[in-house]
């Protein structure tokens, strides 16, 4: 892996991940599913990616690291932890990045743990793969137990010896988080980690992820369809729609951040505490499928502000790696 001169792609030094004009296509058939996405995730920050079905949010994020079986990066540059992952049409070797520098929490806690291996062993194996500590050693075992405690599993010594099916969905997700943390990653990718869980557990798991991130200075990419959840949990949010990047904004002070019409419309859809029925404004039509391309805005047909230019012009891209970006061709939501 080459240490690339920072000037070449203008990577800010405190970014753990920088993507620039990245496009993702299907390996079979070459159809472009996501295009023109640029953003940066700082070290230690929580970054949310939100989208509805067809937005390509999961497909995109997994493809960045080659975790999606059916896709490939077809354009752009990806830099992770100062190392180039993809550039000039070629993927550099990922090597041991995956296991050790990136942790992954998939959506379904019920199928992401090996049902025939004890929980403790699944953690010690991960530690061994990351650091070479012999999995049966006292040290490894102690680390694993400590991790179980860290993620909030009650009676971690007992849990160490138990099998996944002895735990509830929420507990299993915590175990998955423990496994991810065990390798001391620089970046954690959580792909809708709480969709299958009830409201209480959801709140607790998200809180756990946020808190661990702060404590360990761990960067997190949190993928969700729940905009409100992200707004309350992460630092920045990227909004995807039909494979296009619509918006990036900071959550800290929402009023200060102009938003893309789609983001605005999404916020208006959500029934939150103080709204009445008339306050809820639905978006007409259906979410477009992934792979809209870069000509014209995918949201045009459903947008309240639509004009002719929205269907013909090329969508702007966040080449300046701004923290606040709107892809609106009419200039709505762009910070002046």
């Amino acid at each position: 892996m080459t240490l690339l001169a920072k000037d070449t792609i203008g990577v800010p030094p405190d970014d753990i991940l920088t993507v620039k004009n990245v496009a993702v296509s299907l390996t079979k058939g070459g159809r472009t599913m996501v295009s023109g996405v640029s953003f940066g995730v700082r070290r230690g920050e929580l970054f949310g990616i939100v989208g509805e079905s067809g937005s390509g949010k999961t497909l995109f994020t997994l493809s960045l690291f080659g975790l999606h079986g059916e896709t490939e990066i077809s354009a752009g540059e990806i830099t992770f932890d100062d190392k180039t992952l993809f550039e000039d049409g070629k993927r550099r070797r990922l090597g041991r990045i995956l296991g050790c520098r990136i942790g992954f929490i998939p959506q379904d806690p019920y199928s992401s743990l090996n049902p025939s291996m004890r929980v403790g062993r699944q953690i010690t194996e991960a530690i061994y793969l990351a650091r070479g500590t012999p999995p049966n050693s006292r040290q490894c075992r102690d680390e694993a137990v400590a991790l179980l405690a860290e993620v909030g599993i009650p009676e971690p010594e007992t849990a160490f010896r138990q099998y996944p099916d002895q735990f509830s969905g929420g507990m299993r997700q915590r175990i998955v988080i423990a496994i991810a943390l065990s390798q001391d990653p620089a970046l954690l990718i959580a792909d809708e980690p709480t969709t299958a869980l009830d409201a209480f557990t959801q709140r607790r798991i998200i809180d756990l992820i946020v808190e661990r991130s702060r404590r360990r200075n761990l960067s997190v990419i949190l993928i969700s369809h729940n905009l409100e959840l992200l707004r309350q949990s992460v630092d920045h949010i990227a909004v995807l729609y039909s494979g296009q990047l619509m918006n990036i904004f900071e959550t800290a002070d929402l009023g200060r951040n102009p938003l893309h019409p789609y983001t605005e419309a999404l916020f208006e859809c959500i029934p939150s505490v103080n709204k009445t029925l008339t306050d809820i404004r639905s978006i007409p039509g259906e979410p477009a499928g992934a792979g809209f391309g870069l000509t014209g805005c995918a949201f045009a047909d459903r947008c309240a502000y639509v004009q002719d230019i929205c269907r013909t012009a090329r969508l702007p891209e966040n080449t300046g790696r701004a923290d606040s970006f709107s892809a609106c061709l009419l200039g709505k939501g762009v910070r002046t």
Partner: protein
């Protein structure tokens, strides 16, 4: 039945499952449920998964039986209903399910899916009249007449849910039970279908039992709510009372946990 008498009155409803319980270690699906639904109101059943909301929905629609207690519908004990009255019951109470992908027969056209209830309960209608009814229902739920000859797989989740609603409304039920109808839909579509429900409630003076785990949605539609936990009702009252001023800690926690 006068308006002071509830349309649905459940007293002491209990349901036990067979020895090989599907739910871990729980032989009781429901315990001692007391619930009323008055004509014209929207009642919410709120709780987490496993709380028994769906089982209760199935009991109200008589898709499943109960072990103990009484269920009075429009003043009659449902267990005393004669054969023909049982069929009439089915046109009085209808249900919309959570999963838009599994609730439509993949091998049937939309016109037949929506019209089947009419064929059974309003058999005096001939094919033309039925087709007209189906057409107007489809439009009422916001879809075009061109969808009638197509098959479910050609439609998105939100559209399928609308079709399911049209199917339920076709027989002009007195009571519509909705079992988490929005949960499987995209956010922008949830708002659409929510508004559709609101419109139907308003225009048809619909009585509804609305099941959800999302308190915020319940707040918008429901007049009264029941909070369920582990097969019991732990709190109930008007939506404003319960959701703004919960008496039970569980309810308060539930409200607070939501985003």
């Amino acid at each position: 039945m006068t308006d002071t008498q509830p349309m649905v009155a459940l007293r002491g409803i209990t349901k036990t499952f067979a020895k090989r319980a599907l739910v871990s270690n729980r032989a009781f699906g429901l315990r001692d449920i007391n619930l009323d639904v008055y004509r014209g109101e929207v009642v919410g059943l709120l709780g987490e998964s496993g709380s028994g909301k769906s089982t209760l929905a199935n009991i109200i629609t008589r898709l499943t039986s109960f072990s103990q207690g009484t269920y009075m519908f429009k003043g009659r004990d449902v267990r005393t209903l004669q054969r023909s009255e049982q069929l009439a019951f089915k046109s009085d109470v209808q249900i919309v399910f959570q999963d838009p992908y599994g609730s439509l027969n993949p091998r049937a056209r939309i016109c037949n899916i929506v019209g089947e209830g009419l064929a059974i309960h309003q058999s005096h209608l001939d094919a033309t009249a039925r087709k007209e009814r189906v057409g107007s229902l489809i439009q009422e739920v916001g879809l075009g007449a061109d969808c009638l000859d197509r098959y479910p797989h050609e439609f998105s989740g939100g559209q399928r849910q609308r079709i399911a609603i049209a199917r339920a409304m076709a027989v002009e039920p007195d009571l519509l039970v909705c079992d988490e109808p929005l949960s499987s839909l995209d956010v922008s579509i949830q708002a659409q279908v929510l508004k559709l429900f609101a419109r139907l409630i308003r225009e048809r003076d619909l009585t509804m039992v609305f099941i959800s785990h999302d308190i915020n949605v319940a707040r918008l539609l429901c007049d009264r709510v029941y909070i369920m936990l582990d097969g019991r009702i732990i709190e109930h009252g008007t939506a404003a009372e319960v959701l703004n001023n919960p008496q039970q800690k569980y309810t308060a926690d539930l409200i607070e946990a939501l985003y």
